[in-house]
Amino acid sequence: MRAAAGDLSIPLEGDLLYSPAGERYSAIIDRILDQTQSGLVLVTSFADGEGKTTTAANLALAFHARRISVLLAELPSRRPALEHLFGSTPSGSGLESVLSGRSKLEEVLCKRNDNGMMLAMVSSFNPEPERLAPGMELQGMLDAVRGKFDFAVFDGPSISESTGISDLARAFDVVLMVVRRRSRTRTDMNAALRLLDHPRSLVILNG
């Protein structure tokens, strides 16, 4: 396990956790805790660019601020984004190597220097995100995460990007769908929710 390096420029850092924005994330955590006391949270959206990566990172920071054991992870997608927030993974290999069986989970986990929050990033571009269909590797990785952390917040692929999002969502305890204001119609949102078809679906409005 190595510490993550890089410039951390996400909204909720340090004292900002106690800002009005931090209170909003804290309220969202309360809604999640109403659904389950521990588990895996998948953050997704209808399309890219709606704010799911930032939302996932801030949720993980909010969990961490509450002294809840949490992992911020990223599932392979066409646009890995955690590197832009936390810098590249020190080991050079990411979560995609765990899914391909080349590495173990402990080898790709990294810890932030400042607050000790655990991260599992994707190190390179994954041209085939469809391989995220829950197979033995994905399920094994999720089981391993579930055994190590109380909560794990996964920045997942967008619904329009992944055809197997429905099967992927069933592997998680809670699914959070981020909707950007003035970006999606209610028809799009309802279609996405029907596609997810998850019993614990929550919707977050960005904006």
Binding site: P11, A21, R24, Y25, A27, I28, R31, I32, Q35, G49, G51, T53, T54, T55, N58, A81, H84, L176, V178, V179, R181, R182, S183, R184, T185, R186, T187, M189, N190, L193, R194, P199, S201, L202, V203, I204, L205, N206, G207
Partner: protein, 384 residues
Amino acid sequence: MSDAVGTLLEVLTFRWKLASVVYALSAGLVFLLSGRMPREISWQNRVSAASASPSYAQTLPAQVPAAADPDPDTPSATLREPDQSTPPFPIPAGDETNMRTAQRLRAAIQQLHVRVRKDMLERDLIIEQQQKAESTPLPVPAAAPPAVPESQPMRETAAEAAAREQVNADRVNLKELRDRYTELHPDVVAAREQLEQAEAVLANIVASRPRAEPVHHARPAPAIQTESMEQTAAAAETLARTRRELALALNEVERKIAGEQVELNMLEAPLADLAHLPAASAPARRPPASQPLVLPKSSVAANLASQAPYPQELSETATPQTPAVALPLGRRLLWSFALGLLFSAMSIFLAEKLDGSIKSAAGLQAALPAGVLFAGIVPRMKRS
């Protein structure tokens, strides 16, 4: 209140590109178009259009020569722009000034009506005198006076009888024509001249009739007979002169009435354009029904026809000229600014109405299907 302002600011923030584009386009378009707005039809052009109407053109006097085609032989000739100094009643912009102009026109029309009625009365008087003069037969040399018993009564020759018959026939003909036409009708004029000629012929025949042979037992009285004939000829000449003077006077009155009618039409034509103005204290444009003003059109036409040749043979209706003029720059800018704002606001409103996207947490919660929870709102994050 703060929510409304916040919503407005949010909408403006979200739609500022659309609003800017619409504002720039609409303001620019308004600015360009306001530089070429058609001018209001000026009074000069209205005079031109009015003069082109057939009724007005028929009575158009020679005082408005510029409004008509100078060459009546050219069938496709059009009306020229009226001379700037020709229309006698320029009506400036502004209802107040137009009111004063209309009142002045109505007063002038009223005075003209009075003059026309007076002239018509004079004409009726002349016609009455003329009819009396026409009904008076020309004096012919009577039979020898009783003071000359030795003279035999004068015998009527065949030529004299024929001339007298011709005179009677001409009188009947003239009377019939007068019942149908006025004194200015060509047939009436011709019949009157024919009657005068016949009467002159008859007078000559009577004057040159040979004396009857004196009887032996009576002596002729040549001096007395010559004196009687001279008196008769003088009376006939006086009567003929009176008739001619009456005809001239009648012609003069008819001409005067026709001129006044033309002037009346000139005054009423511009007044018709001011019909929208209130006429509270204005006099009636037409004489009352008890004194109808009826001018024989034939007399007017004959009067016009007898005058100098008119150039107003209209072959085509004039079209009012409406050249484009530019508004003042300040007003154009003001209109552009105001209409640009209006159109941009309308575009924002329309775009908001047509936009079916999720705009608020309330809208999102209302759209959520059953079993899906609303987790909350996170601060707005820019797109990566």
